[in-house]
């Protein structure tokens, strides 16, 4: 069956109002996310996989919250996007001093799954996501 195509603006709408873990502001307000940082490859007929590449820009290069923000983005998309989408999340190139280490953790499915079984961490993520449906 053919499903709807989803574009980068729709994905941006899903994530723009996620709250930053440290400040009472959204990721959009902090310019951590932008629709131009999102690349979508749609294959609704499933002849190939559908894919999202989502990049985000931590506010400071040594931001200790980078993995937490990345995790919140991942959970939001996991819960909102059709299951056919494979999602890769990265920090914008040059925007973080431990770019490779952060990217590797965020894209390790097993590490993400184990982190989300940690009830404390999940609670913090849920807190960031509580505002997410405001969509700007």
């Amino acid at each position: 069956q053919i499903e709807e195509k989803i574009d980068s603006q729709e994905i941006f709408d899903l994530i723009r109002s996620i709250t930053d873990p440290e400040h009472p502001l959204t990721l959009e307000q902090l310019a951590v996310v932008d629709s131009s940082y999102i690349k979508v490859t749609n294959n609704p007929d499933r002849s190939k996989q559908s894919h999202v590449l989502l990049e985000f820009q931590p506010t400071i290069p040594h931001c200790s919250m980078a993995t937490l923000i990345g995790l919140s983005l991942r959970v939001r998309l996991l819960r909102s996007l059709p299951s056919r989408f494979k999602v890769d999340i990265r920090v914008r190139e040059g925007s973080h001093q431990s770019e490779n280490a952060v990217n590797k953790q965020l894209n390790d499915k097993e590490r993400v799954a184990a982190a989300l079984e940690n009830s404390h961490l999940l609670g913090v993520v849920q807190g960031c996501l509580s505002s997410a449906s405001r969509r700007g």
Partner: protein, 470 residues
């Protein structure tokens, strides 16, 4: 204007689909002696499925046919045997059987390893089977005749659990990722995000003693795997490296070799049945094949051996092949199994699977040119969207045969002799065992994020023709 059409690649044939896990299925393992397939999941259960090769003749089910002409081509049938709610507090990430088939180990994100045995074995209630040899009663040992013996295809007679937890191995500081028994069953290895590999001695009365804690990796250890013939352990890690360990009897277990080359996390390891090769699968979307060079082969090439000690000449493992461009996302699993067909230089078959939802099967052969270390790899079949849109987390070949003399844990019963190709030296042992004329090694099982377990065969398998599905 001529368009170049790629010849369509043969597709794997689906034999069975086993649903039931309510969340991602991470791993599965075929019992080496009994017709049981175990799977585990984020849902914290282990599911056991029994399988059999029912006769396709019209004789009554109470007298199962041993006549090869009727039962040999019948497709295996899988039935749910038991759901074990493991009691682990988090995801069950891997399951592993002991070589005797009597013990199951579960590795969990709750940082522990569970050890399970059949309740009747725990009670040491031994009743020898009176009619060995028929394929449904083809295994001996301490089994009550009322259970597995009667009809391995049926669900258990009652709703009572068959398996019980006899112990928990504690010590890891964070999620346990993998567990595996050595080929003799005398030791067990576990590994964790805490970067360590633990080696445990399997003692009588369900005692497990920690022999060694190896902190060689710099990151999360994803998998441990034992050599099929020697007591060599391999581990692979988020640090992109593979490490090999042996025991120095006068001292301790130690890492004698580090295999580098992958450019990202190594997720899975599988030794070839002959034991001369190791396959590794990585987030870098490649599979690497590593070959064991003997001390003599090292000398010929002016290479230094590793792992040399009294009684051991040493060896060196080198990367001889990189299989790339077959998978477009992380490869989560690789399995190297027997190939019963008669082909030149047969080294078995490798199955791979990953985040692109694809399963590939390659035939591996020795290069007739003996100066070439790399084996020949040829794609035999593949299937895309094996689990729909879901990632495939594990693939595993069924054992070539189910041992009809389960080894005791100390390996004192005879271990079947295998030649260099991994084929049994005494081929007549295949008859009369549970597998009989069944091409067990044709069966490939997969576990996916959709929570299902699927069983596949190559389109050239006799089961592909017989099966009415797909």
């Amino acid at each position: 204007m001529a368009m170049v059409q790629e010849a369509p690649k043969p597709k794997l044939h689906l034999l069975a689909e086993l649903q039931g896990h309510s969340d991602r299925a991470w791993h599965l393992a075929w019992n080496p002696c009994l017709p049981i397939l175990a799977s585990c999941s984020t849902d914290k259960d282990v599911r056991l499925h029994s399988y059999s090769f029912p006769s396709s003749s019209s004789s009554s089910s109470s007298s199962p046919s041993n006549d090869p002409s009727t039962s040999a081509n019948s497709t295996p049938v899988f039935n749910l045997r038991e759901v074990i709610p493991t009691g682990h507090k988090r995801t069950v990430r891997q399951v592993a059987w002991s070589p005797s088939g009597k013990t199951l180990a579960t590795a969990s994100f709750d940082s522990t390893v569970g050890i399970w045995e059949r309740i009747e074995d725990i009670d040491a209630n031994t009743v020898p089977i009176s009619s060995p040899g028929s394929y449904q009663n083809g295994f001996q040992g301490s089994l009550k005749s009322s259970s597995l013996a009667a009809n391995s295809n049926a669900a258990k007679r009652d709703d009572e659990p068959e398996w019980d937890c006899i112990g928990t191995l504690e010590g890891h500081e964070s999620e346990c990722k993998s567990v595996a028994f050595s080929h003799t069953g005398s030791v067990l290895a576990s590994c964790s995000r805490d970067k360590s590999v633990w080696i445990w001695e399997v003692q009588p009365d369900a005692e497990f003693e920690c022999l060694s804690v190896l902190m060689e990796h710099s990151q999360d250890v994803k998998v441990v795997a034992w050599h099929p013939k020697d007591e060599i352990l391999a581990s692979a890690s988020y640090d992109d490296a593979i490490k090999l360990y042996i025991d120095d009897p006068s001292d301790d277990w130690f890492c004698f070799s580090t295999l580098t080359g992958h450019t990202s996390t190594v997720w899975s390891l599988s030794f070839s049945p002959c034991g001369n090769f190791l396959a590794s699968a990585s987030d870098d979307r490649t599979v690497r094949l590593w070959r064991r060079l003997s001390a003599e082969e090292c000398a010929e090439r002016n290479m230094q051996v590793e792992g040399k000690m009294p009684g051991r000449k040493g060896e060196k493992w080198v990367c001889v092949s990189v299989l790339k461009s077959w998978h477009s996302r992380t490869i989560y699993s690789v399995s190297w199994g027997f190939d019963a067909s008669e082909r030149e230089g047969n080294l078995g078959r490798i199955a791979t699977a990953g985040g692109d939802g694809k399963i590939c099967v390659f035939e591996i052969s020795r290069d007739p040119d003996v100066t070439k270390l790399a084996p020949i790899t040829k794609l035999a079949a593949q299937i895309e969207s094996a689990h729909g849109v879901s990632d495939v987390n594990c693939v595993s070949w069924a054992p070539a045969r189910l041992s009809d003399n389960p080894e005791d844990e100390n390996g004192e019963n005879s271990i079947e002799e295998l030649d260099d190709e991994g084929h049994p030296l005494n081929r007549s042992r295949l008859k009369g065992s549970l597998a009989g004329d069944h091409d067990m090694c044709d069966l490939l099982a997969s576990a996916g994020d959709d929570g299902t377990i699927k069983v596949w065969v190559l389109p050239t398998s006799k089961y592909a023709a017989e099966s009415s599905s797909n």
